[in-house]
Amino acid sequence: MDTPSITQQIARLNALTEMGLLFDTVCRAWVTAPGCTGARLIHADGANRHQIRYYFDGTFDHTRVSRPMRNLRPLDPLSYALEGKKDTGVVVWPGDDDPPVLPGGFPVITPKDVAHVQVRNHCRAVMPLSWGHDLSKPVPLGQSSSSAATLEPMNLLNANALVINATINPDRIIEWAEWMREHGFVLKHVCGERMTRVLRHPHRDFWYDPEFSPSALSVVERQYLRLWWETKLPETKLAELLELDPKTIAKTRRGLVERYGDNLHRLACRMGYMGATNEDSSGIPTL
């Protein structure tokens, strides 16, 4: 799929009920850029960061999602981009050779230019998914109840941001920067608007947890949860439908409750069942 149509697809997704699909589609959109070989979607808050999606060589690596990492502010490019280059993002150029001059004066950081920034050994772009409007200004209350949470300091995207970390082939970096000028900035703002919707919703904590990984659930747990969500039948009936021993079902339920708390509705929302029309499209291994 080309960039404009995938951008339109992102714009049409429901940021709340199709959140998993949104995250996956955002990663897929960024790797449509020339020379881009992989993309990670990272949630950065004040103290930590979580790698909530890892997309490489055309597939999602679900063993690497939701890995909490220490925030190395201000020593890493991600914090650097969030603090200084939120509107444009930055290209990180490793190695000792001089970086090429990118079209449009795209900012590049190298170990020489910015000595305190820890630059690793691959060329990449760090793109905070910002949204065009002034985020430091709270939205007037009464326009929409979803703006009610904007007055909480934790909702300011300075402290709570989603960032794309895209790996770029250094030989195609000029081509990539041209793509950025043509499509990338629109894509960045479209993604940013949807992500802001997720992060600013007053009830976002109900279904969004950067540490939650859908792939952590076993096949039986998924089967049970999905069927329960759709039918709300008691365990004995679910056991019949799934052709499983009722004891296995009870054990599955207990396992889920122990790990995720007793609100299975919440767990189903985090799995993305509320807006799911086709589970395959989320890229998560299916039943």
Binding site: I10, W131, Q143, S147, V186, E193, R197, H203, F206, K232
Partner: protein, 266 residues
């Protein structure tokens, strides 16, 4: 706001403007201006009036944005001046209580057609005669074809209406545009964003604040936690839950799912 780069494809450009500018997170003036400009871009219009349903009455419309394009048309054709003129439209647009009227304006007639597009073909169009004679200004409709695009959200009065006029000679092309797949996709996107911005689930009408508190607890908390939070006994909570399920006409097992749908729209 960061300017959006122009692309040669007006539909993509308009979609980007809606995707970025028509958001639950932006303030009203910006949102509706972005919508008007996106429609101007997509349909090559010279002017567009956006009106939305009044939050207080849920019955009448108020004008949110009126944009007249005096500069170049979005397709690059020159016009006679060089700027956007942003002005306020009519402050208050009364919509009739029922389809038979009395209609004091075309917005009211168009609202009750219950269709997403109403076209008025000049002053001889029978639609014009539906406006009560004392308020019918025939001159207003002479020599132009007027379009009213409505976005509904389950109520009788549309959530939002975009209206624009064009010379009859150019109306054919505009009708074709309004019949295209690209327009349909843009229309859907605008509708989705407007509803996100103004959640107003009609089925929850008449629920008290206390009922809404119960609904929030149903979505988020266990029975014990909910009863504690609402400072009622467990049996009172269960009774309220049964009553709520009856009033919302859903099975009690499905009530938490409905409650979650509701908090998602909040």
């Amino acid at each position: 706001m960061t300017p959006i780069l122009e692309t040669p494809n007006r539909w993509i450009s308009a979609t980007a403007q809606v995707a970025i500018g028509v958001s639950a997170n932006s303030e009203a003036t910006q949102t509706y201006r972005a919508l008007a400009l996106a429609l101007i871009t997509a349909l090559n219009l010279r002017s567009c009036l956006i009106t939305v349903r009044d939050r207080e009455t849920n019955q009448h419309h108020v004008s949110m944005s009126m944009i007249r394009l005096n500069g170049h048309l979005p397709n690059g054709e020159a016009t006679y001046a060089s700027q956007y003129l942003i002005q306020d439209g009519p402050e208050f647009i009364p919509i009739a209580d029922n389809p038979d009227g009395p209609h004091l304006n075309m917005h009211s007639v168009a609202a009750w057609t219950k269709s997403r597009l109403t076209v008025v073909d000049g002053h001889l169009d029978p639609m014009v005669r539906q406006i009560t004679s004392a308020y019918r200004y025939i001159d207003e409709w002479v020599g132009k074809t007027s379009f009213f695009v409505n976005w509904y959200d389950g109520r009788d009065v549309p959530l939002c209406t975009a209206s624009f006029g064009i010379r009859p000679a150019q109306a054919g092309a505009l009708r074709e545009d309004l019949d295209s797949t690209e327009w349909s996709e843009l229309y859907q996107l605008v509708g989705q964003r407007l509803i996100e911005r103004r959640p107003d689930p009609v089925e929850l009408d008449g629920l008290s604040d206390r009922d809404l508190e119960v609904l929030t607890c149903l979505a988020r908390d266990s029975i014990e936690d909910a009863a504690e939070k609402l400072a009622i006994t467990k049996s009172s909570y269960l009774r309220r839950r049964r009553e709520l399920a009856r009033r919302m006409n859903v099975a009690i097992e499905q009530l938490p799912t409905e409650a979650i749908r509701w908090i998602l729209q909040a």
